[in-house]
């Protein structure tokens, strides 16, 4: 049974502009999916359709064989968690308070967090390395620390599906890699299904099992990284010259890009 099943999914803005159209996609359990494509190709909209945050204008989005819209919000929150791209907070919640918010779908309406919730929060904060500054305000943290708290909040939901929206784009190289390793570890250990929008294609090539290429709201190609990340696909989707190669030190595909003009300049030099 697929985790998500999209058939002819389309989403249009109120003014009629189509953000994504005709998407047919099956997301299989326990796999790490990367959604890639140029700016404005509909990556975040596709993620919003998977989240149930946006309803398709036409077509269907099924989650575990049931239309997403027929799921109760609270039940869905125990199944799917999101790590957003940006995280701006007006009020200085502490790191621990933020992580506790991930337990919201598990706490009864009139109840307080129980010992089990506290144990989950403690374990996750320790495993992510944010336990030492649990009392500090999130507004005082650096970008890397803040994003770890956000990931911890999503993990505290204890869901089988984790969605990431360019979760590393505001981080430096080191913190970005650390975060992706953390997610990958989680996926490997718990058999979680991960769908992530990537800004950095090389990061997607390195960490994903499957890639979904989008261009102008349409799905161009989708499948295992080694099969679909061809030079022809990269050039078609990103409209640049591309070369992909096996990076032996990492054991994964990587890619370099250049424009037509650059090639000539290189030859001149």
């Amino acid at each position: 049974m697929s985790v998500f099943h999209l058939s002819k999914a389309q989403y249009s803005y109120p003014d009629g502009t189509r953000a994504v159209e005709g998407i047919d996609l099956a997301v299989e359990p326990g796999r790490f999916y990367g959604i890639v494509g140029p700016n404005g190709s509909g990556k975040s909209t596709l993620l919003d359709l998977l989240l149930g945050y946006k309803e398709p204008s036409s077509g269907r989005v099924l989650f575990r064989d049931k239309p997403l819209s027929s799921w109760r919000r609270r039940d869905l929150a125990r199944e799917i968690a999101l790590v957003p791209q940006e995280f701006a907070l007006t009020f200085p919640f502490s790191v621990e308070e933020i992580v506790f918010m991930g337990r919201y779908p598990h706490i009864p309406r009139f109840g307080a967090p129980g010992p089990e919730d506290r144990e989950v929060v403690r374990r996750i904060m320790e495993s992510i390395g944010i336990a030492p500054y649990g009392d500090r305000s999130i507004t005082e943290l650096s970008g890397g620390e803040k994003q770890r708290a956000v990931v911890a909040r999503a993990l505290a939901q204890e869901t089988n599906v984790l969605l990431l929206d360019e979760a590393t784009s505001s981080l430096d190289v080191k913190h970005g890699l650390q975060l992706m390793h953390l997610v990958r570890q989680r996926q490997a250990r718990h058999g979680a299904t991960v769908v992530s929008v990537f800004h950095d294609l090389n990061q997607a090539l390195r960490f994903c099992d499957e890639l979904v290429f989008l261009k102008q709201g349409c799905l161009v190609r989708c499948g295992p990284v080694s099969e679909v990340a061809t030079e022809e696909t990269l050039e078609r989707v990103f409209e640049v010259r591309a070369k992909s190669y096996l990076e032996t030190s990492l054991g994964c595909l990587q890619a370099v890009f250049w424009t037509e003009g650059e090639e000539t300049l290189g030859a001149d030099a």
Binding site: R74, L89, E97
Partner: protein, 342 residues
């Protein structure tokens, strides 16, 4: 946080005891001094129907306590509590620490309703005409602001604040026009706008207490959801919350609380802005802890200010003027302190 729940409970207990003590002390203060012991005996006797205890107290004191002072004192405490509560909720929903119960134009709506009543039909619906018009004005303004912001592409924080500013500007022009038409009767409108608790009745006490109490229950029920809404609508929806519905319920509840407060007492500024600010410094931003202490501190602050103007100052200053006079400089102090801490 669970480990800090004991501390939060302590804050609430201290504030509740302080508020109850101030109610007792304030009841004794005024032109006719009544010892606190007598006040407590009178309250005890009345609460438990102990006629023998009440018979030992002078009639003048009993009348002063139950007919003159307590309605005003309890109204002051309940209005302050309502303003503190709705201020905290507004700041949370609008993600703006500078929001207050009047940000969405509730006060301008109430003021316009009251001005219209005072000018054209001061006795149409008996002694409560101004109250009813003020409340209706506040509620109609709220729905106008919500519908304007929804039609402008969703009830986002910016849309709501902007809609509030637009509607307030239009209503302010209406209030000015009422004042212009009132000519020599303009003082009636001006005095209402300055705010007063002087003529409070037991009916008003009951009304404000029940609305504030009910509003508190609803807001506390949604307090945890309100925390999560602070993370942004998209994240909130992945945590099992409908951000639009939660925002609407809290907005309507907090506005109705503010509307009743303003209809009873006129426009009392700074309590709804200042109290949540001060309390956030004490409890942090968690609304489960912030809402109860904002409620209690609001009551404490407004009752304190009203007692000051009623029983301490040589001449009574309108309560709205006094809260702004005290609140303005204090807010400057809080603001400066925070800037320096950053």
């Amino acid at each position: 946080m669970p480990s800090l729940w004991g501390k939060a409970a302590l804050h609430q207990i201290v504030l509740a005891v302080a508020l109850l003590s101030l109610i007792a002390v304030s009841t004794g203060m005024g032109y006719i001094e009544i010892p606190v012991r007598t006040v407590l005996q009178a309250l005890w006797g009345k609460m438990f129907g102990l006629e023998s205890m009440l018979s030992r107290i002078e009639d003048l004191h009993l009348v002063t306590i139950f007919e003159v002072r307590l309605p005003r004192i309890l109204t002051a405490a309940a209005v302050g509590a309502g303003l503190g509560l709705s201020g905290a909720v507004f700041q949370g929903i609008l993600l703006n620490p500078l929001a207050d119960p009047y940000t969405l134009g509730v006060s301008a709506g109430a003021a316009f309703g009251a001005s219209t009543a005072l000018l054209f039909v001061p006795a149409l619906l008996g002694p409560y005409t101004v109250f009813i018009f003020a409340f209706a004005g506040a509620v109609l303004t709220l729905f106008a602001v919500i519908s304007l912001s929804s039609s402008a592409g969703g009830m986002s924080s910016n849309n709501l604040i902007l809609s509030g500013v637009i509607v307030t500007a239009i209503l302010s022009a209406g209030i000015s026009f009422c004042k212009y038409l009132a000519q020599e009767r303009v003082s009636v409108i001006v005095f209402w706008l300055l705010g007063s608790l002087a003529s409070s009745t037991w009916l008003e006490v009951g009304l404000v207490f029940s609305v504030v109490g009910l509003g508190f229950g609803v807001c506390l029920y949604f307090a945890r959801a309100l925390n999560i809404i602070c993370l942004g609508g998209r994240t909130a929806s992945t945590l099992g919350i409908s951000p639009q519905r939660t925002r609407l319920v809290l907005l309507v509840t907090a506005s109705l609380v503010a509307a009743v407060c303003v209809a009873v007492s006129g426009i009392i500024g700074f309590v709804g802005l200042l109290v949540p600010h001060m309390m956030r410094g004490l409890t942090g931003p968690d609304h489960m802890k912030l809402l109860p202490v904002s409620l209690l501190c609001g009551g404490l602050l407004l009752l304190g200010a009203d007692t000051l103007t009623r029983a301490v100052l040589p001449q009574e200053v309108p309560i709205g003027v006094l809260t702004s006079l005290l609140g303005g400089p204090f807010f400057c102090y809080v603001f400066r302190k925070r800037q320096m801490a950053l």
